[in-house]
């Protein structure tokens, strides 16, 4: 794993290449992370690829509610020769949740970016086929957001339908 100074050095190199790219670094539990500006993600990942981090293992979406900017996307990079891992993090606000897609350069991101879009509503600009992947195509809302209620899927019971009632929410918990 790159140690804290190693992460700093990587961030410094990124700063030299793109002055606005790096927002900061983190080092937590023996693992480094670099926070970057959303617009620079494509170039940052390319520079890190040249530094040996050739494999993108995972893309996660995170909702930092109630913090702002709310939505986060994280890229887990792996260097198979030096046996290093590094996280690249970015944050976008709910109002303009746009992140440049990296799918064309990193084919593995295809399904994972679609999942983040589906679950959090982060729009990956330039993704060749940005559709919902796990939820139905006509689904409204992004279920992994923190303010989306658990049990938020309305259920229509035949009993209620016969009485002309509307969809009901689960009754086991108050609606968040």
């Amino acid at each position: 794993m790159p140690d804290a100074p190693g992460t700093e050095l990587l961030a410094q190199e990124l700063r030299e290449a793109h002055p606005d790219a790096v927002l900061g670094t983190e080092f937590f539990r023996d693992k480094g992370a670099i926070r970057v500006a959303p617009a620079a993600i494509g170039e940052v990942l390319e520079i890190l690829r040249a530094k040996g981090f050739k494999h993108l293992m995972s893309v996660h979406g995170v909702d930092y509610y109630p913090e702002e900017p709310r939505l986060g996307v994280q890229y887990e990079l792996l260097d198979r020769d030096a046996l290093d891992r590094l996280t690249v993090k970015l944050r976008v606000p709910l109002e303009s949740p746009n992140v440049p897609s990296v799918t064309l350069k990193w084919p593995t991101a295809d399904h994972q970016e679609r999942e983040v879009y589906d679950m959090f509503g982060v729009v990956f600009d330039g993704h060749p086929d940005l559709r919902r992947i796990l939820m139905p195509e006509d689904y409204e809302g992004h279920p992994q957001r923190r303010d989306f209620p658990l049990g938020g899927e309305p259920v229509l019971f035949t009993h209620d339908e016969a009485q002309g009632k509307d969809y009901t929410m689960g009754t086991d918990r108050p609606n968040a």
Binding site: H55, E76, L83, I133
Partner: protein, 416 residues
């Protein structure tokens, strides 16, 4: 809220036709047939729908459509305290429950900075490797069923039954055992368990040879496996494919060796790799992996250290039962753990392990409370599924069935 309660009204307004993607129009001189394979096709090993475009019997295009068993496990886990989230997380990839639990517990332990006792680490390794054999046995049985070799299934489930019995003895459950706890394992293995395990370990390499005898001279199986749907190492790496699929193409990447966790560095084992990356290599790699797993379990059992099976940190692990009657402090710890759970320092971790299908990576974000703020599983089946099209493009539809069987996706893990 209104967004959800007005669901029916909005649903009626939605014009689905606008969202359906137009398929590429066929060239005038050829006739393309678009066909749904699944979601309830027995060869899809779950509820996977493949939208295949065929030219006669040749697959020209393919789109996997998933989400049919999406149950929102990641969302559910956010509403449970860490130790109560283990059972739901285990149900993601339902053939690799020990691996799901290990990834989750490992991530939580990293956040907490808790040391896991050596005995617990070895017990975890034993159970994970048994799980790996079990998962491969289900894969072998169902795959060969797809290829028409029905009898192999019965032989595989014979050994699988023994493994499930062992799981039942150590934890009380055959599947989704919730044996791994944050900080160690639930309880020590019962007396006599190791004798039964040794009996099984003695039989297993012979059983693998028996399966190979059934298949390695079976002309039909061989013709359907050999040289069908190969994919080169670089494409697999670009697509993020891990596990036996990558090793079949010759890349010896295995997290147990490369970045050991849970004391894997103590054991001597080999990583089987293929040479051509075709379906036969995918088959052969998994067969050898079962034998290697037996070797790991033998070493772990021989070297099983004495000591506690769960951390002594009472802020994380439940106190032993006998202390509850005599110690006020134990009672308080017990009460706090059972009602609220333990609080976890804020932070974000990614904990990857090597499962039967590749890299299971658990991402947990903690906000300092007793419930995780985000749980995400990087499931290998989900990522590996992207390699289906490059593998089967311009192959026969019969080879698509074989390739899907050899990819071994578990849809519970894909959809989560």
């Amino acid at each position: 809220m209104t967004e959800v309660t007005d669901y029916r009204a909005t649903e009626d307004r939605v014009d689905v036709s606008q969202r359906v993607q137009a398929l590429p129009s066929p060239a005038p001189d050829q006739e393309l047939l678009t066909l749904n394979m699944g979601p309830h096709h027995p060869a899809t090993h779950g509820v996977l729908r493949l939208l295949v475009t065929l030219e006669a019997e040749i697959v020209r295009d393919l789109k996997p459509i998933i989400g049919y068993v999406h149950t929102g496990i990641e969302k559910t886990a956010e509403d449970k305290s860490y130790w109560k989230a283990i059972p739901v997380v285990e149900r993601m990839d339902y053939l690799a429950y020990y691996f799901n639990a290990m990834a989750f517990c490992g991530a939580t332990e990293t956040l907490l900075d808790v040391e896991v006792p050596k005995r617990a680490q070895y017990l975890r390794v034993i159970h994970m490797e048994l799980n790996r054999i079990m998962s491969h046995l289900v894969w072998l049985g169902t795959s060969m069923l797809d290829l028409g070799a029905v009898s192999v299934w019965w032989y595989c489930f014979r050994e699988r039954e023994t493994i499930l019995d062992l799981f039942e003895q150590s934890s009380g459950q055959r599947m989704h055992t919730r044996y791994f706890q944050v900080g160690g394992v639930m309880e020590d293995v019962p007396a006599g368990w190791d004798a039964k395990l040794r009996q099984f370990l003695k039989k297993m390499p012979w059983a693998v040879d028996q399966y190979l005898d059934l298949l390695n001279r079976n002309e039909i199986a061989l013709r359907r496996l050999r040289n069908t749907c190969p994919l080169d190492e670089q494409t697999l790496l670009d697509l993020g494919v891990t596990g036996p699929l990558l090793r079949a193409a010759g890349n010896p990447w295995d997290l147990r060796k490369a970045m050991p966790y849970s004391s894997y560095e103590d054991f001597d084992f080999k990583i089987p790799v293929g040479t051509r990356g075709d379906n036969y290599d995918r088959f052969a790699v998994r067969m050898q992996e079962m034998k290697e797993s037996v070797k790991i379990i033998e070493q772990a059992l021989d070297g099983l250290p004495e000591g506690p099976y769960i951390t002594e940190d009472r802020k994380v692990a439940l106190p032993p039962r006998h202390e509850l009657a005599t110690s006020m402090e134990a009672l308080i710890h017990h009460f706090k753990l059972v009602t609220e759970g333990f609080r976890v320092p804020p932070g974000e971790v990614y904990y990857p392990i090597e499962g039967p299908r590749g890299e299971y990576g658990m991402f947990i974000r903690s906000d300092g409370s007793s419930k995780p703020a985000r749980v995400h599983m990087r499931d290998p089946s989900f990522v590996n599924l992207q390699a289906t099209l490059p593998m089967v493009k311009d192959a026969y539809i019969a080879d698509l069935i074989t390739t899907l069987a050899m990819m071994d996706p578990v849809l519970g893990g894909v959809d989560r």
